[in-house]
Assembly symmetry: C2
Homo-oligomer: 355 residues x 2
């Protein structure tokens, strides 16, 4: 079992990673817990998770799987369920699932009685390396994704890699895209490890040793960034590498494109912009895009996405300030720069280069 | 004009108080602002407030006056309105109104894009001395009042006492109850001032000098308490004096009893429990209840409230921990103690003494 400590100054918490993290959770002292799961996770792993999180069968809130459930209404339903169960401020929520479950449950925990504890039990690779760590919670409104939410840190994260064995390949891809992103912006050694073990990540995935080690490294890196800049006023923004471009592709696909694929395409576009600006060597950018391809991730604009629509969609990103489109670029594998404004012309050129 | 600074360590803000605070707001530099008002405030003061807060007529969100609007759905509607207006994280909300507007708008500001700035423009005495200061925000769900919400401090509070001149007597009473509460738990001098000026508070209210001074003192005291204990893990709980008893009366009245009247009755009950326990001199408790009466506030249990129902209703208070009913008691005018557990028998006795 591996443990990563995240120290946020006034608070700290542990991320426990490995085949058997659920058993570790079961051993820890318990608070009264409302476990939140979507229909899929409940069917696959419900009993096991409930036994470890320490709740009774009534202390479960489940909802239909899928991004369409990620609304403020569902978060309020979680709070109402807790209120009906007479939960008080000494109780906690457990989010057992992927990003939707984690974001929703964390948001509900942030607002129930003005904030109670919650723990994360990620069941997807994406949640394990990204959304499960860092304390960003939220829900979607018709006007846009994650437009309501809160910064609310978990009290603990328990990543049992055995839960990942049931993931379909596309779900694995979502996580791998964020793992490559983390390596590209922060860690050349992790990048090399990924290059050297691409087949043990995709064709014959190793959930006992390799994945726990890679997840540990990603959590450590993300934890460091979050500790430095919890509310994203500076450095944390580098975690958005590939995302401003990627969100545009997601939006134009009407969110039918998996998040990881959109981020991979976004990183490819960002790499070309960095090369165009003379920041990044072409050979390094190629190295990034080759790794993405080897991991089964797309690096080309999907058909029927017009360049002008992509640039317009980037304008809607909520991280823009005062109207300018801002993107994270890299100067080497492992070295990222703070977000910088980009003009329509060069953005269009970058998109054109990945057609 | 009087200014009270609230210093929360990492953040600080000013409370500007006086006849003319709105003009002061108008002079300060402006962010893009969505002003939130209920239908009553909009009709009475809308144009004046909007001119000071610095918004265009489209940048207003209004909703039907009354506690029934205080739902998470209304808070989300505020966020959706801001999203449609293309607000980003550099914009702010302004809450112009009483407790419902302040709580809702603060909650919306806490969750819009994971938290943006908001300012308070209290238009009721209660909001000026209590809900407008301190950063507690929230909304009601069918299972209970304020069961969802957040701690989110305003970036500034502008209390223009000229707005208070349109208040009906019952609204003034709501504020006076909290003012007496503040004096009883924290400030014997303020208590004396209230005793010496009861008629200039009620029959011929002085909004140019006396009220600004009393509001200033209340804001200062509340600001100090909040600075010491923002999230109510300790000392802040004394602000709940009279409230655990009062909430029970409110609940049994189905929230038809005004909050201030409920708190006055709650303080009377608490004073009798403190006397019963030998903590407080009968003469001091009488002094509190006499002042409440002079200010037109009730100090007796409303007819048709049974003692057993009142005790049971106290059990539902969200501030109870682990099942025990906890109440704040005083040991002298100006001296309060941290919440302490109380048994059913003595609670019933205290209620019986104010029949």
């Amino acid at each position: 079992m591996k443990t990563v400590g995240v120290d946020l100054g006034t608070r700290s918490y542990d991320i426990v990673i490995g085949a058997g993290a659920l058993a570790e959770l079961g051993r820890l002292s318990r608070k009264r817990t409302l476990t939140v799961m979507d229909s899929t996770v409940k069917a696959l792993h419900g009993a096991k998770i409930l036994a470890s999180a320490g709740g009774s069968p009534e202390e479960v809130f489940s909802f239909p799987a899928g991004e369409r459930s990620k609304t403020p209404e569902t978060a309020v339903e979680i709070c109402r369920c807790a209120a009906r169960l007479k939960f008080d401020r000494s109780c906690r929520f457990a989010a057992a699932g992927g990003g939707v479950t984690g974001d929703l449950t964390g948001f509900a925990a942030a607002i129930f009685m003005r904030g109670i504890e919650f723990i994360q039990i990620p069941t997807t690779l994406l949640a394990a390396v990204d959304s499960g760590v860092g304390g960003k919670t939220g829900a979607d409104i018709p006007e846009g994704k994650n437009l309501v939410g809160a910064f609310h840190q978990p009290a603990g994260v328990f990543i049992d890699t055995r839960l990942l064995t049931t993931l379909p390949a596309s779900e694995l891809g979502n996580g791998l895209a964020e793992i490559v992103k983390t390596a590209v912006i922060l860690d050349p050694e992790l990048f090399e490890l990924l290059e050297n073990s691409a087949d043990r990540l995709v064709s014959r995935p190793d959930f006992e040793e390799l994945y726990p080690e890679i997840i540990r490294r990603c959590c450590e890196l993300k934890g460091m960034i979050v500790a430095e800049d919890e509310k994203e006023s500076g450095r944390r923004a580098v975690l958005n590498y590939g995302h401003t471009f990627g969100h545009a592709v997601e939006l134009l696909s009407d969110y039918t494109l998996p998040h990881g694929q959109a981020v991979a395409i976004g990183m490819a576009a960002a790499s070309h912009l960095a090369v165009l600006r003379g920041l990044w060597k072409q050979s390094d950018a190629d190295r990034q895009n080759r790794l993405l391809s080897r991991l089964g991730l797309p690096v080309k604009v999907p058909p029927r996405c017009r360049t002008c629509d992509l640039v317009n969609a980037m304008r809607a990103d909520k991280k823009n300030v005062g109207g300018a489109i801002r993107v994270v670029l890299c100067s080497a594998v492992g070295s990222s720069r703070l977000p910088e404004a980009a003009g329509d012309g060069e953005l269009a050129a970058a998109w054109e280069m990945i057609r």
